[in-house]
């Protein structure tokens, strides 16, 4: 060991003396740092490899620190398959759903550590996409690691991953494509991945079916050798089962795609000698899953199931199932599953039921298969699950098939000369009287299925007479049953007989009268109903009595309708009787049995109620209760109940008020909130408007500045520019005009001045003129004076001159 250690030291370098070795967390930290920051691919690759090596022993440290670094590698180092492969493997180890060996004793590691890390990883759905993208990588290690990592993640967080993958286009399709990978390891791992992926998600199941997966699965199954093949066949069938279970759309697709026939080779039996050698464990598993697939097809209650049942019969699968049933060496578990599959396949399908009636076992003399099955059911030594399966098969065989019900009852009626042949009716009668309480139970329930909803057979069965066990006189079956009821030591037998008699009496007054008339069944039932030790028994007894009361035709003087009621009221009290009767549906066995037609009982001592009886009870309960109440003295009889109901009503009323108040409060809140919202909306829109306005202004400003460059092409801006130009143009004109006006004004002013001068001149001129005129007048006067002077001067001197 020391030698080894020193060897490692020489490789890694010895730790410096005096310093402790780095803790795992520190080592991881350093490696993460290198993965994140190193520029050398080789470095990152080596660090990833080292992280992978550490991730098993130090899962928490690696997971806590390296997640982001690894994610980064997946994103950026896609080109290097080796690095990617190491990163994927590290993530795989971190998220592994199971604890590693080293972790098992370490209590610091929580058992859901893988789930926690998965949750962290998928917080960003993009991370899942990264892994999905790596499925495209053809490299073997990368693809395989990616598939396995996805499987782990799906195991840990099924619903989350399913939802993420569902919204990725082609997410599902990509995975299905890998089924075609020629490398079987990849294909097989993909199968496991798809099984996880399809669990409980109908949408994914449908997409997977749509992508021709049924074809691929059947091809793989064929290549692996059908039922004789290995675990891969089982995986294929498990995936098929996932796709079909509770998915009526896929079931319909399976039927329409004619895939039903392709199940046949899986159910093929070998010749007897080979079968005697026994079944290999894997073959048991393969066939069991195949049978579950068949049941997923035909087991539905919906309208589609009928079509599937017909396809199963037409495709020969029903015949193949019967073949398995009758071949030798079939393990008991497979046999039980086959019987259940046959049961589901024939239920409510008359042709298939009739087919089953005709199948014979290869015994000597040949007996009907059903007879062999019934023998098995009534045989104490057979495995209990097998017996339960046969009962279910018998129930389905008789379900809604009046002719088969009639045929069964006929085997009990006395016929001429065929006493030697063993019949189903004889077997069942034998079962009723058997010492095995489970056989009593099975026989009584089986017989009750022959009477279900069939008044005709109820009447016919009344004619059956059985020789008493002690060798006494033969007695009718119905009174024998009454007697058995009193004698039976086991509660299971009593429960079963009460169920049988209830079925018998319901809707058949003749049977009710026969029960009332003899055997002491009524007295026993009354005392049983009065007794509260076993609530189930007292409830069933009360139910039977109520049926006898309801279907009483007063033909038995001892127990007329009124007399029976008096007995009940006196011995039990009407109120107690009603509460016993109505308590049945609240009992645990009732809720267990009413879930599904197939009896699911783990142990023989747990046998209790039967599914069809629960239906009968449900159909009759309210009818019987109202019948009892209506004819009794109404309210006075049960003041307690009345008070109870009143209290209940009061309670509910109070609650109602409370809720209404709450509602009002909430409505009010809502209104105020609405108002606030409206206000804010108004403010918002106002602000928006302002914003738009401002934006417009800004853009206008921008347009103006941009206009000279002429680079904007926007319409408005163009228009604006046009307008701007026009304005400028008009401005210019305006300026022109203004200057003109100015000019004109000055011109005007000069003109005016000119005029004023002219006027002044005119005035002066006029004055001058006046002056001149005055002068002229003066001179005229002078002239005249001179003239006179001249004349006077001339007259004196010159008369001689004329």
């Amino acid at each position: 060991m020391d030698f080894l250690k020193s060897g490692i030291k020489t490789v890694l370098g010895s730790p410096e003396v005096g310093t402790a070795a780095p803790s795992p967390a520190e080592t991881v930290e350093r490696l993460v740092e290198r993965v994140t920051n190193s520029t050398l691919l080789q470095d990152r690759r080596d660090s990833c490899r080292a992280l992978k090596a550490l991730s098993q022993n130090y899962r928490i440290e690696v997971g806590a620190q390296a997640m982001d670094a690894l994610r980064q590698v997946l994103e950026l180092d896609r080109a290097d398959n080796e690095t990617i492969h190491y990163a994927l493997d590290t993530l795989k180890n971190i998220m592994s759903p199971t604890l590693f060996k080293v972790e098992e004793d370490n209590h610091q590691v929580p058992c859901n550590i893988g789930e926690q890390f998965t949750e962290m990883f998928i917080k960003d759905p993009q991370n899942v996409q990264l892994v999905l993208d790596l499925l495209d990588e053809y490299d073997f290690r990368v693809r395989l690691s990616a598939v396995q990592l996805l499987t782990f993640m799906l195991t840990n967080r099924t619903r989350d991953i399913q939802e993420i993958i569902l919204v990725k286009p082609m997410g599902v399709s990509k995975m299905i494509d890998l089924l075609g990978d020629t490398r079987e390891v990849v294909r097989n791992e993909t199968l496991l991945l798809l099984i996880k992926l399809t669990k409980g998600n109908a949408n994914i199941q449908k997409i997977v079916a749509f992508e021709n997966t049924f074809d691929r699965l059947f091809e793989i199954i064929a290549s692996e050798g059908h039922a004789e093949g290995g675990i891969i066949v089982e995986d294929c069938l498990l995936l098929m089962l996932n796709l079909l279970k509770n998915n009526s759309s896929n079931v319909n697709f399976f039927k329409e795609g004619s895939y039903v026939q392709r199940l046949l080779p899986l159910l093929a039996t070998r010749d007897d000698e080979a079968e005697e050698a026994g079944w290999a464990a894997q073959r048991v598993a393969n066939v069991q899953v195949t049978l579950l697939v068949v049941r997923a097809l035909v087991g539905g209650q919906g309208a589609g199931a009928g079509g599937c049942r017909r396809a199963v019969r037409a495709g020969g699968v029903l015949a193949a199932l019967c073949g398995v049933l009758m071949s030798s060496g079939v393990p008991a578990a497979v046999l039980a599953d086959t019987i259940l599959a046959v049961a589901d396949a024939v239920r409510a399908e008359p042709e298939s039921q009739d087919y089953l009636a005709q199948v014979t076992a290869p015994s000597d003399p040949p007996r009907p298969t059903l007879l062999v099955l019934l023998m098995c059911m009534l045989n104490e030594k057979q495995p209990f699950q097998l017996r339960c399966a046969v009962l279910y098969c018998f129930e389905c065989f008789l379900y809604r098939n009046e002719s088969q019900q009639a045929a069964l009852v006929s085997t009990l009626l006395p016929t001429a000369g065929e006493a030697a042949r063993l019949t189903a009716g004889q077997l069942l009668c034998g079962g009723l009287f058997s010492r095995d309480a489970a056989a009593n139970w099975f026989a009584a329930v089986a017989l009750s299925h022959a009477l279900r909803d069939n008044p005709e057979q109820k009447r016919r069965l009344l004619r059956v007479v059985v020789a008493a066990a002690g060798g006494g006189a033969p007695e009718s079956l119905v009174s024998q049953c009454g007697r058995l009821l009193q004698r039976a030591a086991d509660a299971r037998a009593q429960v079963a007989l009460l169920m049988l008699l209830s079925h018998w009496a319901a809707g058949c007054p003749a049977a009710a009268a026969a029960l009332l008339g003899g055997g002491g069944a009524v007295g026993w039932a009354v005392s049983q109903a009065a007794d509260t030790d076993d609530p189930l028994l007292s409830g069933l007894a009360a139910f039977l009595l109520a049926l006898l009361y309801h279907y009483n035709d007063d033909s038995v003087p001892e127990y007329t309708k009124e007399a029976l009621k008096q007995v009940i009221v006196k011995r039990i009290g009407l109120e107690a009787f009603v509460s016993r009767l109505s308590s049945v549906s609240r009992l645990e066995p009732y809720s267990a049995a009413s879930k599904q037609p197939q009896p699911v009982v783990a142990q023989p001592h747990l046998l209790s109620l039967d599914y069809e009886f629960c239906n009968l009870y449900r159909e009759h309960e309210s009818l019987l209760l109202s019948g009892l109440a209506a004819e009794g003295p109404a309210e006075a009889e049960h003041p307690d109940t009345l008070a109870q109901y009143r209290a209940l009503i009061r309670q509910q009323d109070a609650r109602l008020h409370e809720l209404v108040a709450q509602l009002d409060q909430l409505l009010h809140n809502n209104r105020t909130l609405q108002n606030t919202l409206n206000d804010s909306l108004a403010t918002n829109s106002h602000l928006k408007d302002e914003n738009t306005l401002l934006k417009a202004q800004v853009s206008a400003a921008g347009a103006m500045s941009a206009a000279p460059r002429g680079s904007t092409t926007h319409d408005a801006e163009l228009k604006e520019r046009e307008l701007q130009e026009k304005i400028e143009l008009q401005d210019a004109k305006l300026r022109e005009y203004e200057s003109e006006v100015e000019e004109l004004r000055t011109a005007l002013r000069t003109a005016e001045e000119g005029r004023r001068k002219a006027e002044e001149e005119l005035v002066t001129l006029r004055k001058d003129q006046d002056d001149l005129l005055v002068l002229v007048a003066d001179q005229d006067l002078e002239l005249n004076k001179y003239k006179e002077l001249v004349v006077s001067a001339q007259g004196g001197r010159a008369p001689a001159e004329p």
């Binding site: 449908k206 059947f218 319909n252």
Partner: protein, 214 residues
């Protein structure tokens, strides 16, 4: 049950345009006035005859609600035909066709035959989309067009069958690669044995598998 070819269809379009009713009318020949919302995708099937050949139609009816879009997208790749449906009494279902078509073209194989269907043609009085508009849209995008009524069954058969005829013609022309099942076409068991005699190299794998199952 033997068929020559199997075609896969999808039906797409807005919610409430009558996709599920079209399918029900085609497969069951009945009409249900009140139909539950289709959750995710539902399946239906029927056999038809074209050119004397039995053809099986497998039809996936998708939920039209927005919530199912991502689920629906997974079905485009494997489908040979698509019925794109709108409601002639609701204009907005017509307006959304472009989005549907983009989605379909993006996720499907390029040869997928798309039939445009204006449904509810019986409600003439409430019509909001004219027939000519549907025709114009189909012409513009290279689709086949029809108006149907899932209620009266008018043109419903034709819509499904004409789509199949179109696909069949494409097969005859060799446009579709019928050996690639991802295209939404499968050769039937009876047909593939016949083709095996023809001896195309690609039929080898198909022949082997059919030998195993039949």
């Amino acid at each position: 049950m033997a068929y020559a070819y199997l075609f896969k269809y999808i039906i797409i379009g807005d919610t409430g345009v009558g996709k599920s009713c079209l399918l029900l009318q085609f497969t069951d020949k009945r009409f249900r006035p009140v139909h539950d919302l289709t959750i995710g995708v539902e399946f239906g099937a029927r056999m038809i005859t074209i050119d004397g050949k039995q053809i099986k139609l497998q039809i996936w009816d998708t939920g039209g609600q927005e919530a199912f879009r991502s689920i629906t997208r997974s079905y485009y790749r494997g489908a040979a035909g698509a019925l794109l449906v709108y409601d002639i009494t609701r204009r907005e279902t017509f307006n959304h066709l472009t989005t549907w078509l983009e989605d379909a073209r993006q996720h499907s194989n390029s040869n997928m035959v798309i039939m445009l269907i204006g449904n509810k043609s019986d409600l003439e009085s409430r019509r909001e989309v004219k027939k000519e508009e549907g025709e114009a849209f189909a012409r513009e995008h290279g689709l086949v067009f029809m108006e149907t009524s899932a209620k009266t069954a008018a043109n419903v058969e034709e819509a499904f069958i004409n789509t199949a005829k179109e696909i069949y013609e494409k097969i005859q022309e060799g446009v579709f690669d019928i050996n690639n099942e991802a295209n939404g076409i499968k050769i039937g068991p009876q047909h593939s044995t016949g083709a095996g005699a023809g001896g195309a190299g690609g039929a080898g794998a198909g022949g082997a598998s059919s030998g195993g199952c039949c």
